[in-house]
Assembly symmetry: C2
Homo-oligomer: 314 residues x 2
């Protein structure tokens, strides 16, 4: 369930006017911006952008960028974009960072349905005038590239056919690869990047049944290198993405200095989808509500905005 | 331009009835089947299938399969399916053959627009309950797999941005790979499977300008192995698919025994698209019309059907 709280009544023109007023003149009314945008669905945000453009011949996204700053600006910018467009931006930013953030690319490739991932690929082309797989392929190398290119290009089968015999064979292949420290074996990459998610979950279950340990625990034996971490991220995103997100949030919050990028990314991405379940998982694991933990680590308008997206009516 | 000739007036119910009559009782009226199906677009054929199903609670495709035989049956079967569904079948058949026909998979992956290829992937899932890339990945190995999986997964950029500097760099990479007989280098695969077609054509042109020979000629030095042939097919399909199809037809016709699969595939696939241009290229190269060449190598209803698709009103 979404954490986002959306009022029954909606008028794109009224919201566009509200945002125009909030930005007009000296100073910006951040509270007004939060009270509008923090309670609108993706479709409504798109309507508001269009109304704003029509009424004021100005791009609302650019206007807000010039009015806001810091983490608050980043969160609003990530939020106001269409989800597919936002993910395209996230992939591009992850690729262009001095230390590339493979986990962001993996998250976006594995979390989405086939159709959603396709939307991201379309948005990427529209924005960057090249294909997503083209950038991933030309900006990464070696084993990471062998994993990421098929991941971002995947259009997985989503029917409910699961082949139990195959799950056993492929659980064995994965097990051997872990044992031999040969995760970069092309069979491992083939399995993780092309099989349907249901089939993979059957394979992971079979791994646990046969080997007496979960596949992700099985991979923890030694300090993982960059590639092993990436493989582990793929498995965790497919196996239980809510637990995966809980851990991203936990690590981001407990990190010295807080990883704002990660917090923004997860909240903005999941607020309209299943944030309430992620909050439950978080509370179970940390004995503190996510809202409370976020409130402790953030401040000001940025904090108010995140808490609004998390469903706080405050 | 299409070679297919379609009358102005169309009634799916009348055609369904016509086909029902042609199949009823002893013997089949092949001429009637040809005169209907040989003059209908993909959308019309779909309407006819639906009408037939509605009127007779029977699958027209299955009925025709039981009425017809040999190459004629195969041609009608390939033709009556939705184009994306037919291509899904072609890929699957190519994968399952004792000697896999990589060129068919390459053709389908490279010839289509991004959106058309996606339709084929969707049709493949619907029909085979798994993804196309999943089957390609699990039924091929080695370098061929490294080439085919990204090809069938591609969703290439189709805008008109072309980077001339990149064309030069990548023409050099391709040239070095050919010179070093290292076509299986992952950079070659990356370039051919992810760059936009316009970008690739710029790269191939640059290759010719800089090296004084076309890239496909440059690859002809020695007897090519299976992988080099596959790479060459990719390049030829992207560079000039009409010339490519002309050669497929030429080889199929001059082959001892005639390669009916290839003839059917090309005619059925292109009749509604650009068969007239392919016929022109064929005539230029062979000094005999394609219709004439096909008529010489085929006979009976099969011949009549192919010639009808080629636009013969006879």
């Amino acid at each position: 369930m979404a954490s986002l709280v959306v009022p029954d009544h909606f008028s794109a023109d009224a919201d566009a006017e509200g945002l125009f007023k909030a930005c007009k003149g000296w100073g910006t009314n951040e509270k007004a911006i939060i009270s509008i945008l923090g309670h609108r669905t993706a479709a409504q945000r798109r309507d508001i952008r269009q109304s704003y453009e029509k009424l004021h011949q100005e791009d609302l996204v650019k206007r807000l960028e010039s009015e806001l700053s810091g983490d608050f600006e980043k969160a609003v910018y990530r939020w106001i974009l269409d989800p597919a467009d936002r993910d395209a931006v996230l992939v591009n930013v992850a690729l262009k960072k001095p230390v590339q953030e493979y986990h962001v690319i993996i998250e976006i490739s594995c979390m989405h349905s086939a159709e959603e991932l396709l939307q991201v690929r379309r948005a990427y082309q529209l924005r960057y005038k090249c294909s997503m797989e083209e950038d991933v392929a030309s900006l990464t190398t070696g084993d990471i590239r062998k994993l990421l290119v098929p991941l971002v290009s995947s259009y997985r089968y989503e029917g409910d056919e699961v082949n139990a015999r195959l799950a056993k064979t492929e659980a064995d292949i994965l097990h051997d690869a872990i044992k031999d420290k040969a995760l970069n074996h092309e069979e491992v990459i083939r399995i993780l990047t092309t099989r349907s998610k249901l089939q993979l979950i059957a394979t992971f279950n079979r791994f646990r049944d046969d080997k007496g340990t979960s596949i992700t625990k099985g991979m923890l034996d030694e300090k993982p290198d960059e590639f092993a971490s990436a493989v582990r991220t793929v498995i965790r995103c497919i196996n239980d993405h809510k637990k995966y997100y809980e851990k991203v949030l936990r690590n981001a919050i407990k990190k010295l200095g807080t990883d704002e990028d990660a917090i923004i990314r997860v909240i903005v991405t999941r607020a309209e989808k299943d944030m309430n379940e992620i909050k439950e998982v978080y509370y179970k694991r940390n004995s503190i509500t996510l809202d409370h933990a976020v409130a402790k680590e953030t401040s000001g308008d940025y904090k108010d905005f995140l808490l609004t997206l998390l469903g706080n009516q405050g």
